[in-house]
């Protein structure tokens, strides 16, 4: 069964350093999402792409976070500089991208990148 690929699986960094996460969605999925999940909480959407275009980045802290999906396939999420409060699981998800008003597609999540900022 096709899966969403993410790397690295774990990342430990010191505050003020730069970190980057990579995601490769399921082949043919036009929509890609980056979520942040703090321990004990539900995933929170950071950014949503439709092909190479950003659809929603209202919750992305743009002073330090950036995301790109240049060719509309894989994506990179970057944090610079990292802060202690950024420690969390960063989940990538994808969906087919057949956007229909009034409903949502089911999401396929990757295994995530667990970030620890020291």
């Amino acid at each position: 069964e096709a899966e969403v690929a993410q790397s690295p699986r774990y990342k430990i960094t010191e505050k003020s350093q730069a970190v980057a996460f990579w995601c490769d969605p399921i082949s043919g999925h036009a929509t890609l999402y980056w979520y942040r999940q703090i321990l004990g909480q539900g995933p929170e959407l950071l950014v949503q792409f439709q092909d190479e275009s950003v659809v929603d980045d209202s919750q992305l802290p743009k002073d330090r976070f950036s995301a790109e999906r240049l060719k509309g396939v894989d994506s990179t999420l970057k944090i610079q500089p990292a802060e202690l409060g950024d420690s969390a699981m960063y989940l990538c998800a994808s969906s087919l991208g057949a956007i229909v008003r009034g409903t949502n597609e089911k999401l396929f999540f990757g295994s995530g990148t667990q970030l620890s900022v020291l």
């Binding site: 539900g42 929603d56 295994s111």
Partner: protein, 112 residues
């Protein structure tokens, strides 16, 4: 903004007992989805409900969507050790931006 709350936050049950988690939204939803996240794992889609009052079953799992489309529930009959994990609801609001808002989750542990 839209808020989705779940209760209880934690639930410990003896194997074979039933389990229910409740999901409540601050706004009317266009649809609701349920996900399961095993310990150390990632969320996995279980089901989607769209219609007011809708009820769907998956083996021992029963999902309901409230008449007002502001609440939902997941009921598991005769829990098994494989049911361990955190169950999240995720609601979509029909404001022209079909963003899913995840609930706070209910963590289920099974006592063998």
């Amino acid at each position: 903004g839209q808020q989705v709350m779940q209760i209880p936050q934690y639930q410990h049950v003896q194997e074979g007992e039933d389990f229910t988690t409740y999901c409540n939204s601050s706004t009317t939803l266009s649809n609701i989805q349920w996900y399961k996240q095993r310990p150390g794992g990632h969320p996995v889609f279980l089901i989607q409900l769209v219609k007011s009052g809708e009820v769907k079953k998956q083996k021992r799992l029963t999902f309901q969507f409230g008449e007002a489309k502001k609440n939902s529930s997941l009921h598991i009959t005769a829990t098994q050790t494989t049911d361990v994990g955190t169950y999240f609801c995720a609601g979509g609001a029909n404001f022209g931006n079909e963003k899913l808002t995840f609930g706070t989750g209910t963590r289920l542990t099974i006592i063998p």
